[in-house]
Subunit: 344 residues, 4 copies
């Protein structure tokens, strides 16, 4: 079989991670082109032996024989890049979120549908070995019917204020991963959101119109619940934990640590902090999500995370925002008319 | 100095625990009388060498030289017994809750005030070594300003339906401990409650007008938050954990286990379940709370948990109930006019 | 049934622990007399409501109706006190070791036999919930045939040099507990000992003719092995762990901690040290061993730890000493002719 | 700078691991040739885009511009291949052990010396993040002077009997890693070995003249000690732990697990087994050791593990063997006259 031909658009931090994984761990594909609007693409192409580099997305799409594109450019280009890739008939992997506007997302999904290409969204945490193990335990009925899902998700530090201003707010930028995780673990739809938000980390975040600390209750269609707590700044690092409580038991996933050592001295017992940086913490997940993307291209199966998953996580995020503003629980149907979509 | 003379009213499960602790671990006091409306008091008196036994509470209070009474009778007698003890000028330890009606609780507290006796409420978990350690870490600024408090509190199984019917509901019967814990750990007042409740354990609980599963967000006066999750039935035992996240770090208290063993076999790594029964789990706390009660009697200092603590936990419970019923966040001031009380 | 009448000889640290346990937790017995050659016995008797106090051991034994004596006096009185109690026909609990001389121990055991009384030795660690759980796992075949037993046993600090001089050396004073534990867990006899000892904690210990650090390999009759490592000074506290590796798995018992808290800060994750003091660490075991002593008196069953257990642990200790001195593995039969004893 | 040119000799399990790491993670080098006496080398060369493949070691060494060779062929070829690479003036990475005969090892080291090339031996565990962290703690004086080192090293299952017959015995095949680890962690020389060995896993191993279970005490030149326990078969997986006890504290490294999950059900708390397979467990270490090999080539610095390290671990292994056979502690000087070597 011919090798699958893949291009990468956007060569920032996450773009380079994906490029590296594609080049090293996938003998059945070749990266045929890379693109970034800034100048660095040549050096990157050289480092990874990629034959074509460009700063023009359309040129990238015109690379001969191209099968799929991996979109890692800034959020505000996602929808546009996805649409152009769909028009060009390419399979698409796109970093989350697709767009900050629900209307725009719906539009994009319809275009995708029309062109018959498949889209996978980069909710990488679904592919993390820790969370996958919990998902398996849920699927195998090891904990019975899930009743309460608890997600702890705290960043080591806030992004720059300039980023926060264009991020769509913490719920769409950060918590969106947790919304997707709640859906992934439960396998159910969220019907209602109640969120409390506060500014406790940095007043500048408040001045930028955002929050940095939040607690959110999601209610699923069958009245089971998920609780998420977020902070933009956990001084001890990147805190990513999951717990599922059910009728037959409870399962927990802990943080990941660089090593297991314990040191006992006169002053106490100590150990190293959890992995601080999301790229290190979710290293395996980034590789596995591309693995499943490529496998789905080869098999023709459905993408493991698709456009609707992206749409619904954004809807939950918007409902959470509305809940904080209006100080009341908000139904998903208040922000998204899902019926038509789910009838398809 | 003369020994402090203590009487115990109510010789059920918790009454016997307190009696045993008082007899064994407090050389500076003597238990001079026990009382229960049922017949067993004679045997108990004999077992613990208590000179007087009776089924008449007033007779108990008339025991010569009596300094203090420990009230462990059913909830619906608490208010009445406390009032009569106050009228008799005794120091009072009373199991929680004081009463299910806020009005009645306020009344009782005024009577207590009038008679100049002191009342301690049995929020034993404050005296648990695990939670006290977390409280010390908060007080010592080890975690900085607390921003999110997380309390997991799940029972191994629901009480009988007949008990549930008169219990005042899960929030006043079970979660009330968690409300008090949130206040104890934060040292702050709760201003708003949002609660989601569901019946997932046993439909009969729903038919009795109660819930068995809940998630609650408390908002403190400074906008910091606490999250509590409850279930009446954790098949793996009694699940009692606490986490405090703050500006300088995070502290966690785990469950208590009967032993530390880990068994590695072909099929995995396993260990024993957490301590199942609340009396075993909170053994140390029951002893310590009486220790502090007796110390406060001797020193004349304020009781470590007083009537206002009881009042406020009940108010939070009622607000939680209202929140579930009205599907919205409820302010404490909607259920309790605290101003006057706190001006005292 | 009449209450069992017990006397306590020796009111030092461990004597008081036993006295307190006997008084508080055993309604079926009464402590009728206490004895110490120093003057404190009166105050102790008063504190625990013991009617008779004396500084004369024979007077203690003459207490009317006395059934059993608990011997907690210094090691050099053990053999003599046991013999006199046997002659007086009392059941005997004696702290370990019975004596530092094997000949004397054998003599005492013969006297015990002759008088038909029963003797239990205070190897309290057998009754520790941690180690009992491991023993249960071994007995239930959860780990299959034990192949390697590992015992870590380190003290928080060395005893005074004056004590060390009369202690019989680290192997007979401290490691003897571990020798007994190895026998208890395996249920087998030790046939050979190889020991390496060193002075690393305090040169004064070396000058006193003892060692403070050791590693010992025990070989059981079936060639399975135990490894013990000892130090007189673990700055982080009292380190008491056990691991059993077998054909079907492995079981571990960890140290005990005052609480489970974990604190995450910028500088790492930390927790409290293990329980430092042996009385706290082995609190439950002291109570349980007396429980089994009293039960054996009532039932007439064999004592759970008897004179032979004491004899064999001392023999292993003497073989270890010889092994260090002669720098070679030493067979138990070199220090003890066990045959006759075990034929009985 | 020109890329470093590396060849790989031996394309078995470990050879492929090294080849993959060299190809993927070292942009500053190129793998120019691979060799295996069996036929598979062509397919491997193709998979990894290696231009030259051969079944002739001398041809491999003649690859134009070759800087270094990585030797992963069977043990009995190591010495010969190393010598020929030295004669050809190449830098050498060789899997352990260099040879099973001390005389041959000394010879090889002299030849290496004569030709002025550098040799690194593949004691990969030194580069494992767990053990490196412990080493750092020792170096930083966090635990003070190490007094007792404990190494647990158990395989998930024995190799085939045919392999065992030519392996040099468990001490030279398996424990040799632990001997090197003891030296690495302590930074000291071993002066004496006492070993007990037994056949508990499979009688066929005994019939082949080997053992499958062992406990070993190493004594260092300063009388501090290390204890190693080994089994060829831990049914629960690959058990690789380390503990260092010192004057200021104690440090432990635990096993590595595929995930952190804990499952609580009615029957207990459980989790997954440690990583079973040594390639997965030591994945990071294999990469890091090549990293340091390449770095040493570039910098001209000493190799982090050199021929003397190999020599000394073999000497300890031979002393252990002798100790089991002669049932006594054996001095290293009985098997190796080190003086001359270390004077160099």
């Amino acid at each position: 079989m011919d090798k699958i031909k893949v291009a990468v658009a956007g060569l920032g931090r996450i773009g380079k991670i994906h490029l590296k994984n594609l080049c090293r761990n996938f003998p059945e594909l070749e990266v045929v082109a890379v693109m970034d609007i800034f100048d660095g693409s040549e050096a990157v192409a050289e480092e990874f032996n990629v034959p074509v580099f460009t700063n023009d997305y359309d040129e990238l799409l015109r690379t001969p024989g191209l099968d799929a594109v991996v979109i890692c450019s800034p959020t505000d280009t996602h929808a546009d890049y996805v649409v152009r890739a769909a028009e060009a008939g390419k399979q698409i992997f796109c970093e989350k979120p697709l767009d900050l506007s629900l209307e725009r997302v719906k539009e994009v999904l319809e275009i995708i549908n029309r062109y018959g290409v498949r889209l996978m969204l980069g909710f990488n945490r679904r592919f993390d070995p820790e969370f996958q193990r919990i998902r398996q335990l849920v699927l195998s009925d090891a904990i019975g019917d899930p009743q309460i899902i608890k997600i702890t998700s705290r960043d080591p530090g806030p992004p720059p204020i300039e980023y926060i201003k264009v991020s769509g707010g913490m719920f769409l930028d950060m918590t969106i991963h947790d919304f997707d995780m709640a859906r992934y673990i439960s396998g159910k739809q969220v019907k209602e959101v109640f969120a409390k938000g506060a500014v406790m980390v940095d007043p500048a975040i408040g001045e930028a119109g955002d929050i940095d600390t939040a607690v959110i209750i999601l209610t699923f269609e069958d009245n089971t619940m998920a609780v998420i707590d977020n902070s933009r700044k956990a001084v001890y690092g990147y805190d990513q934990r999951l717990e599922v409580f059910g009728s037959k038991g409870m399962a927990q996933a802990e943080n990941n640590f660089p090593n297991s050592h314990k040191l006992y001295t006169e002053s106490g017992v100590s150990g190293d902090l959890p992995l601080h940086f999301f790229l290190g913490r979710y290293d395996a997940s980034y590789n596995r999500e591309l693995r499943e993307f490529i496998d789905a291209i080869i098999s023709g199966d459905d993408m493991p995370v698709d456009g609707k998953d992206g749409l619904l996580s954004i809807a939950i995020g918007l409902a959470a925002k509305k809940s904080v503003e209006e100080k009341r629980p908000v139904k998903i149907t208040e922000v998204l008319n899902c019926k038509k979509l789910f009838e398809d």
